[in-house]
Point group: D2
Chain length 268, copies 4
């Protein structure tokens, strides 16, 4: 059955015949393999153009910064999935990717939307007025500020200053970083307590300033995290902890439902 | 409940405190972000050590070679999943990753196991004798040779010669590439028809010769394909074809089951 | 790291020791297995209580109604995933489940939220005034009405009248069905064209009237679709069409990107 | 590109036109919705025929038996995925389904293959000789016996005797249950220690005796577990423990990798 109008029936990413594979207009084997880095290729695939040196450096920095942070929930879910289903590495990677949602890694996209919305109001408004207006709406709606606050790195996230420095060194720091810093300054005034910019906020700001498209911002933490998942799953195959993670998690939770007469729960 | 002995309770990938994030022994912000490429970081995460220049070049080449090949099944599944569930980019990426299985991208791992098994019999046997023995076992078991044959690139896959050239230029071509070439030469003799090495076979051979670990070979096509999925999903958000793909696929299939009296199927 | 306050550390669904498994307060083996239907068990698991006869009949009817509708996008994605990764049936089921999103099966939840919001304004407002107010908001925001309209069953979806009849026969038809019918009547007035209630709208209305919880409405199409996916994947193992679906879908899409001089795309 | 011969281009499960939906030859709305149970529909979808009373009772019993067992790894992974990505219930269900692998719920299929292989050698061999021969092969290959042994229910799994009783009461107990019991008796002799039949073994035996198809056995625990996941995710929306599960799991694991001078890991 036809869902939607289906007027669009083309794609501009890749084509091939028996001898040649074309990616974004380039002969894959003649022009790209062995000549560009994977980071160049990621930028090319997503934007249609090869990056400049500054763009490459910023994309590399964000991917390196967000790939790994230990046994975070997506890694925990992934490792226990491999323990239960070792025949399907791809299933364990997918289980980890599914945890890249609005609360955790997806906040980079939400932050990018916020910074983009503020930037779009300039120059009709000053950057500060634009940021203040949007923060006021979030506060009134009792919503959090995406890209600010971290459960461990409360005072400051070391990745933030590093990413901002890289952006400055690369010469691409611009409006979105300016707005991101303004927001960090305005939060205590509006919410009554400080919230440091976190790595998702910094990633959003530096990518947008580098000319990376908003619609693909969420892809950066997902791609980076895929590398981390593969590393953890390689370790899991050799030194498995998946069932320890599941068991210890479950042990911390009590049963508080009804129970038949005389029943006592055992070790979970 | 405790599944398995659970004697292993440690991990060697990352640790952190409020000020510092350590990845594979390095201070993430002080030593890595802004200083190494994402490809360096992938190698570091998976192996525990930063790559040499030749290793980096080979890993880059394999990631670039396998990332994109148009509307392959995993991309098709991913784009129709985003059309149905646009609120969850991570779900569409996961659906695509789930198609990295034994028949398609996972064959890189199967090929790596074959090359590794042959290499392990050397020098007790000659490389040719080792390859011949393993191929004989596969043929007797009526199993395919993983890493050889392609539905489109029948005579030769342009990515194969390119990857082998890069490995040679980088100075890492060794035993596994030798065995992979031997197998291509032996297949017509044993199966009675030629089967060209495909990109999965070439990836397996050059990665093993570069010192990349066998257990993580499948991760390379998965990581590369994640980049491709993000590019396709960025396009899908702007020029959607997900429901066209599903509808046109379904239209090619007839219903051949029982039908109530007088029922005629409509357009599917 | 601790994300969130983590004050909640209990669950009320199940507990066990070496001899007994308790589910929602019942001895699983002594009271449930062999004595209740799976539908009873689904209701018990989700709500904490066994259903009455009318509730069981309505839940059965909705699950039967929504399970299967041919080669819909989620089934297409699932079958091509199994073709690519036959070692992991669970991966193919998961790929299909990932297509139960806001546009397709998840609209049952959106419809339930709409009906619930309208019902909550009664009796302060009349049902019609409540429905009219909420539809007005949707129309002003240029949003669709969840639970109405279908690409194939344009005039009427045969599952809708059947589900409403079952609800009436079971004696549970109430406020939510009333509101769902009102909305169908009001849509032409507000949008200027009719949109028939679809199966998602009907499922939402009859489940809410039966006392099924709003937060679990989306679970009904997901559970039903899982049964359909298993049937399709059983057929796929015997009569594979997964790669036909992918190939025919891809063939309908043209490449409209840049191409190197002299390059002509082959058959996709 | 065409992968495989693609000669098969039909499906026998469902067809529809604007007025009628046909499922397995039945008019969905005229014959099925409101008239059969979901369990009947599951059997119909998978086998093409409605079940008899004994078949329905056995399928209901297996689905009820395997649906829920507390905070098992698939539930833990699912709940932490919802905590990280609350916008996508389907993603959390999929993450849980991905844990239905060869080690945990998928062992029902492996057990079914074992019982089926033994049954296929009868009457050329006695059931005991067939079972003994196959167990001998598993033991020689140092492989486990699928369907036997459980980390919590070591002496006996209460679900096993209950399912076997239901099968006997339903009048379908036959060759596969006989073989399953024989294997339990032979294990101590061959492995030198007892291993009680577990719920996966019992499910495999009673389903095969009821005439349920081997290729779909793994679907039963997956379908049942989907119901459990929906119940847990409904609770997770109201009383979240997902991040507690992840954090407590991670806290049980130490970092044993290299560390920069002076670095001390904080609370994980």
């Amino acid at each position: 059955m036809k869902i939607g109008p289906q007027t669009q029936r083309s794609s501009a990413i890749s084509a091939s015949n028996a001898d040649t594979i074309v990616v974004r207009g380039h002969d894959l084997c003649g022009e790209l393999v062995g000549q560009i880095s994977f980071t160049d290729h990621v930028w090319l695939l997503i934007t249609g153009r090869l990056p400049g040196a500054a763009q490459r450096r910023v994309l590399d920095a964000t991917l390196v910064a967000i790939a790994e942070h230990g046994l975070v929930p997506s890694v925990v879910a992934s490792r226990m999935t491999l323990a239960a289903a070792p025949e399907a590495l791809q299933g364990a990677v997918a289980a980890g990717i599914l945890g890249c949602g609005s609360v955790i890694l997806g906040s980079a996209e939400s932050a990018a939307r916020l910074f983009g919305a503020a930037a779009a109001r300039v120059p009709a408004e000053s950057p500060e007025a634009a940021a203040r207006a949007l923060l006021g709406e979030l506060h009134a709606a009792r919503q959090p500020v995406p890209g600010y606050g971290h459960p461990l790195h409360k005072r400051q996230d070391p990745r933030v200053s590093r990413l901002l420095t890289v952006a400055t060194e690369a010469g691409i720091a611009g409006r979105h970083i300016e707005i991101a810093a303004l927001i960090e300054r305005l939060v205590p005034e509006i919410w009554g307590r400080p919230l440091a910019m976190n790595v998702s906020g910094a990633i959003a700001a530096v990518l947008l300033d580098a000319g990376y498209p908003l619609l693909a911002v969420k892809g950066v933490p997902m791609l980076a995290r895929t590398a981390s998942l593969i590393a953890h799953l390689t370790e899991e195959q050799q030194r498995p902890i998946g069932f320890v993670l599941a068991d210890q998690g479950a042990s911390a939770v009590e049963y508080d439902g009804r129970r038949p007469d005389g029943f006592e729960p055992g070790e979970s």
